[in-house]
Amino acid sequence: MANTQSTSRLSVLKTYKLYIGGQFPRTESGRYYVVKNSAGKSIANACLSSRKDLRDAVSAARAAFGGWSGRTAYNRGQILYRMAEVMESRRTEFTDELLHTGSTLREAKKEVDACIDTLIHYAGWCDKYQQLFSAVNPVASSHFNFSVPEPTGVVGIIASQTNALMGLIQTMAPALAGGNTCVIVANSENPLASITLAEALATSDLPGGVVNILTGKVAELLPWMSGHYDVNALVLDPLSDAMLKSTEQEATTNLKRVIRSKTADPLSPYRILDLQEIKTTWHPIENIAGSGAAY
């Protein structure tokens, strides 16, 4: 009988795919690009997303928006916490991804820990920012008048091109905490950690479509994202001035909110407010003659 067992095992390489609507499709375009580590060695092929992939991701995000924004704030907090739990259990995997990008082991561990802590931080904010940013307004007529923040809708995020994972988490977490759904273009040079994050998210309690992650070229995808009529807001990592100008022009098609946060603090609750609309409700109060006498 022939020996079918080989002595040395071939390791199974992971195919890095996109994350759209809770699933992991390849790009519909069939295109890919080579991802290199900091030493210049090829380590994987990543999908080179197309305009169609972006549109699929926006559709998935829009479909998920009603359910996600309709959950109780407390429940969204539980789910963000769960996302952090799942990341915690995969710390070594994330650390390995960051080592490829040139981080030292110490730096990589520190970044992964900071990512998890950021998620925990925003999990806590889920049912608290409303109190901070709501108001009962003292109008001069007999009305009960109050203003509350509500999620803006589908948020397009260009993740930081300077760090592999933290930039994505810092922009994604406040968007999710506020009840938005998002389409994220990952770091182009170092997209692997973002896809590993997608795999973690898929096994957390986050509903499919709430977060969608594309890999590819920012310069190719950004014009389609900024002109898309079903994207309500854009969060941009600092871009070149020319790119920012064309993005803001395209964004006027449907008055997208183009966010460049006024705070540098990545943990500020103002990051949540950046992606909220304020709704003011008026309701009459019956005007009883001589009211106040009851006191």
Binding site: L132, F133, A135, N137, P138, V139, A140, S141, H143, N145, S147, Y229, N232, N254, L255, R257, T263, Y270, L273, E277, I278, K279, T280, T281, W282, H283, P284
Partner: protein
């Protein structure tokens, strides 16, 4: 002008022309129009209150902002249907709901995607009350705490 006047003059010739253009569009789109018989002053830019019935969701007078005394009337049977219809436009400046059931008021006001919602009242404004829209109705808010927030950082 009588202080009980609800509908005054239009604020400019160009806005009156915009409103009249939309009234023509409404007629062309096949909706039924109702305008009360009323005498308009000779001087100034006036438009009579105008109602359209038999209107479709896709009609321009439903989808676009007219900013005039023109009401396009659609019908509905369920809460879900009216929310879907009301939110199915690119704009979201204001909305109104009339109902006698308290819990239904907040069911509606929560789900309407607009910056100002009038419940059992309409067209109220106050400097202490934030004003501004969702979606393509504009950026930011004017008035109230939320009008001040862009200029402030609140610190504990």
């Amino acid at each position: 002008m009588d202080k009980n006047t609800d509908i005054g003059a239009i604020n400019s010739k160009s806005q009156l022309e915009t409103i009249l253009k939309y009234i023509q569009i409404g007629k062309k789109e096949g909706s039924d129009i109702y305008q009360p018989v009323c005498r308009l002053p000779k001087k100034g830019f006036w438009c009579p209150p105008t109602l359209f019935t038999d209107v479709a969701q896709s009609n321009r007078i439903v989808q676009e902002e007219i900013f005039g005394p023109v009401l396009a009337i659609l019908t509905f049977r369920t809460d879900d249907e009216v929310i879907e219809k009301a939110n199915n436009t690119p704009f979201g400046l204001s909305a109104g709901v009339w109902t006698d059931k308290g819990s239904r008021i907040f069911n509606m006001t929560r789900r309407l995607r607009a910056g100002v919602i009038w419940a059992n009242t309409f067209n109220k404004f106050d400097a202490a009350s934030p004003f501004g829209g969702y979606k393509e109705s504009g950026f930011g808010r004017e008035g109230g705490l939320h009008g001040l927030l862009p200029y402030l950082n609140i610190n504990a």
